[in-house]
């Protein structure tokens, strides 16, 4: 089975190399076949009944070490080339700390790779959702105005990213984790920079230095773990830190997760990533990158004590509420989706912070189904941009007239993020129960509960408020009424199909009627909309107080972001500082 695992790690880089060489036609076939194989591997690994652990040979460790140095060196070079002080300084700090830490690693060795249940779920979404996005990108990238060589490079980078992600979710050594963490930072930097205009470079730099902070936090965690617990392996660290009072390594790891998840003070890097082609946003938001954060918290929450777990949950739920509120003031479609991702990541982190098997399961549900739904939504956002030339919500107006099926798909994706019986709903449902449970032993959890309840209601408000624009009438038209290209349509539709099928997974937690009833209702609604033909019934106009001219409809508008952003950032930072301080003293 270790062979299969190694294949899932090393096949993507091989595919990436192939992408660079092959001519476009063969490239596409190879990519689709590669995605198919990877997904197959992921499914096979998912049904594996036992845990797999193994260590890499010593030579490979040397290679990792060299790669680490190379990546940090590249960051320093990027800092110099783009004249970015924070990037350069952070790279130097990382280099110094890394050399110090790597030199003092203990001789004791355990498995580098551990395949557990969490990793299995992650494989599914990384390869399945990530694969769908790559297939979508094959066609999408052809419409970018760059050389063919760079288009191939783009696809290759996506494959490489998937490979890195596959490995990071199975990594047990913090050192290896650090290398892969830095590699994801590198991938996202290169992807965001892809269009190479001033804005892209600017945002890529910001993404770089913020994520370097995360890398630094991991190094700090490693150093702290070495001094107190003499290990650089997650499992040993957790077993030794269990019940111990000094939790600084875990606090630092949590900090790294917050940065990766772009939680509020760090939100600008993820929102800045929108300048890149849409598949980049899709892959960053759904299958890769930000999902490292809740995954990392899930991995380490076993070692949290009550205070640490409460503080992490508080940060998560606070961000869930504020990010959802800020999304209300946005007009750029991808930005709205971006904020809602940040919010939901907050909720996932809050759930993952509770060391309880049910919370673990709920967090996994959220991670998986959020990945599918968000992936689908971003692919749809890409269709809006490429096919209809629409970027802003206010331009979407009247799309329902032109392509009702497409609008129904978007509505379904929104529904999947809020309504029963879909996975994200299930996550929220379990979250409320879990927080209520936690409250009984730890009354402060009531604040976490309040934040999550408000956040989830605001998200509902956000999604369905957005929908109104598809129906609103406006004078300007948004592109022609032709059918969407199949090569765009299928990946997006495929993800939606997975969502529907995924409702079945909730059988374990919900009763049969509880799952079937909403499905039946939604199905009836869909069938009736398609089939119901009102024969011999008059059609009338809508009511406009007897006026002939139709009024133009506008949407409600809130501006929370400019008013409360500063305060939210400060508050979140204070909470995060409290986590580190708590790790030190408690």
């Amino acid at each position: 089975m270790a062979v299969l695992l190694n294949l899932i790690f090393f096949l993507p880089p091989v595919l990436a190399a192939a992408m660079l060489r092959l001519p476009p036609e063969r490239r596409n076939y190879t990519a689709v076949a590669g995605v198919g194989i990877l997904t197959l591997f992921a499914v096979m690994l998912f049904f594996l009944p036992f845990e797999v652990r193994f260590a890499f040979p010593e030579a490979l460790h040397l290679l990792f070490w060299a790669a680490d140095i190379a990546v940090i060196g590249f960051f320093a070079y990027a800092g110099l080339r783009h004249r970015s002080m924070p990037v350069l300084l952070l790279a130097l700090a990382q280099m110094a700390l890394y050399l110090g830490v790597a030199g003092s690693a203990p001789a004791e060795k355990t498995a580098d790779i551990v395949l557990n249940e969490t990793a299995r779920y992650m494989f599914l979404i990384i390869n399945g959702v990530g694969g769908a996005i790559i297939i979508y990108a094959l066609h999408y990238i052809q419409s970018e105005a760059v050389q063919q060589r760079r288009k191939n490079g783009f696809i290759a980078l996506l494959f490489f990213f998937v490979g890195v992600m596959n490995m990071i979710v199975a990594a047990n050594s913090i050192e290896l984790f650090f290398l892969l963490f830095e590699l994801t930072t590198l991938c996202s930097y290169l992807l965001i920079k892809f269009r190479q205009d001033a804005q892209s470079v600017e945002n890529a730099k910001r993404a770089l230095w913020m994520n370097q902070l995360g890398g630094l936090a991991i190094l700090a965690a490693m150093a702290a773990s070495l001094t107190a617990y003499e290990t650089i392996y997650f499992d040993t660290l957790l077993s030794r830190a269990n019940g111990a009072a000094w939790l600084l390594p875990l606090a630092f790891l949590a900090l790294a997760a917050f940065v990766k998840a772009a939680l509020i003070p760090f939100n600008s890097w993820l929102l800045g990533a929108m300048v890149a082609p849409t598949p980049v946003s899709a892959i960053l938001h759904s299958a890769t990158m930000v999902k490292i954060a809740p995954f990392l918290i899930l991995k380490i929450s076993g070692g949290f004590d009550a205070t640490l777990s409460f503080l992490v949950a508080l940060v998560g739920s606070f961000v869930f509420m504020t990010a959802s509120l800020f999304a209300l003031s946005k007009d750029y479609f991808k930005e709205v989706l971006g904020y809602s991702t940040i919010g939901l990541l907050g909720l996932m982190i809050a759930l993952a912070a509770i060391a309880d098997p049910l919370a673990h399961k709920a967090a996994l549900f959220l991670i998986c189904f959020h990945a599918v739904a968000k992936g689908a939504l971003f692919l749809q956002a890409g269709i809006l941009e490429k096919h209809y030339g629409v970027k802003y919500i206010s331009q979407i107006r009247g799309l329902a007239d032109r392509n009702p099926l497409f609008v129904a798909m978007i509505a379904l994706a929104f529904g999947a993020l809020t309504l029963p019986p879909f996975g994200v709903f299930l996550g929220k449902f379990m979250a409320i129960e879990l927080f209520s449970q936690q409250m009984q032993s730890h009354p402060l959890f009531s604040v976490v509960l309040l934040f999550s309840v408000l956040g989830s209601v605001v998200l509902t408000l956000l999604y369905f408020r957005l929908l109104s624009n598809f129906y609103a009438k406006s004078a300007q038209s948004a592109g022609e009424g032709t059918a969407v290209d199949k090569r765009y349509f299928f990946p997006a539709a495929g993800l939606l199909a997975v969502l529907l099928a995924g409702a079945v997974l909730s059988f374990g937690t919900l009763g049969i009627t509880q799952v079937l009833l909403p499905l039946l209702l939604l199905g009836t609604a869909g069938a009736l909309v398609l089939l119901f033909r009102a024969k011999h019934i008059d059609r009338t106009k809508t009511y406009h107080c007897g006026e002939k001219e139709q009024a133009v409809l506008a949407n409600s508008y809130f501006d929370f972001e400019s008013r409360y952003m500063k305060r939210a950032q400060v508050l979140a930072l204070v909470l995060m500082a409290a986590i580190v301080a708590g790790g030190w003293y408690v």
């Binding site: 309504l419 409320i432 009984q440 009354p443 408020r465 609103a472 009102a534 406009h544």
Partner: protein, 274 residues
């Protein structure tokens, strides 16, 4: 058996309730008021009118709103999971919102927008309501709430918050901005006529049953208290409706978030410490 009959006749009972309510309100204003069965007379008349629609999808969503609400009441009365019932109720509301958005009508959109805004007020209260019962009973199971003891006195602030929710959901002043008749002509229901309006009209009846059943939960298995409580709430809601004027939607949001969610949250925290 009793529950099943109750669920099947929920729209009828709701209609009766509305008939009684119209009488009660008339008596409070010192007038005669319509006959008790007036809601059903309205219903038969609506069925008999020449039907007209704006478009098909719009009509379908109203029907789905009604059916979903009915399913919600079934799940609530037959003793499912309280939290789940509240989320299913959200689905019903979303159908209504989509119905409002699916036609190009200013008032319909305004109504749907407002429907969403008030959702932001009452949905947290409803969820906290469920959480309060979780804290008292140890689970969200409605069966155990129905057979458990009365929690009214432990949940008085929450009760006040629920009165606020009931005023919003049943469209009673001062919190009826979501379907204000003189202001936005009923909001979402504006574009429906004849037999198709009938579904929204009946949905309102089912909503009555839903809200009053939620109040019934406060009394647990205490039948007498339950009856007194429902009668009291019924009179109270209509008294407030008659005695106050509508407040603006923005004020509704403020009052609802501060008092509704605030009271419910204080109650929950209180339960943890007492």
């Amino acid at each position: 058996m009793f529950e099943i009959i109750f669920v099947l006749s929920a729209p009828l009972l709701g209609g009766m309730l509305q008939g009684i309510e119209r009488q009660l309100r008339a008596r409070m204003q010192n007038r005669m008021g319509p006959p008790l069965l007036q809601p059903f007379y309205d219903m038969f008349k609506l069925i008999e009118k020449r039907p007209m629609i704006v478009d098909e999808a719009h009509t379908v969503f109203a029907i789905m709103h009604f059916l979903t609400l009915w399913a919600v009441v079934a799940m609530l009365v037959l003793g499912d999971n309280l939290l789940y019932v509240i989320f299913l109720h959200l689905l019903a509301t979303i159908f209504l919102v989509i119905a409002g958005y699916s036609v190009k009508s200013v008032y319909s959109h305004l109504g749907a927008n407002r429907e969403l805004w008030v959702l932001a007020v009452y949905e947290p209260v409803l969820i906290l309501f469920a959480v309060a019962f979780y804290l008292l009973e140890g689970s969200f199971s409605l069966q155990s709430i129905y057979s458990g003891q009365a929690h009214l006195f432990a949940l008085l602030p929450l009760f006040a918050a629920m009165v606020l929710v009931a005023l919003i959901k049943l469209g009673k002043s001062p919190f009826d901005a979501a379907h204000a008749h003189q202001e936005i002509i009923g909001g979402v229901e504006i574009e429906y006529g004849g037999v198709f309006y009938e579904f929204l009209y009946m949905a309102k009846w089912v909503e009555y049953i839903f809200i009053y059943t939620l109040f019934w939960l406060f009394a647990g298995s205490n039948l007498l208290l339950g009856i007194v409580l429902l009668a009291g709430v019924f009179v109270l809601l209509n008294l407030i409706d008659n005695a106050t004027a509508r407040i603006k939607i923005s004020d509704l949001l403020k009052v609802g978030l501060i008092w509704g969610v605030g009271l419910a949250f204080i109650n929950i925290v209180g339960l943890l410490y007492v």
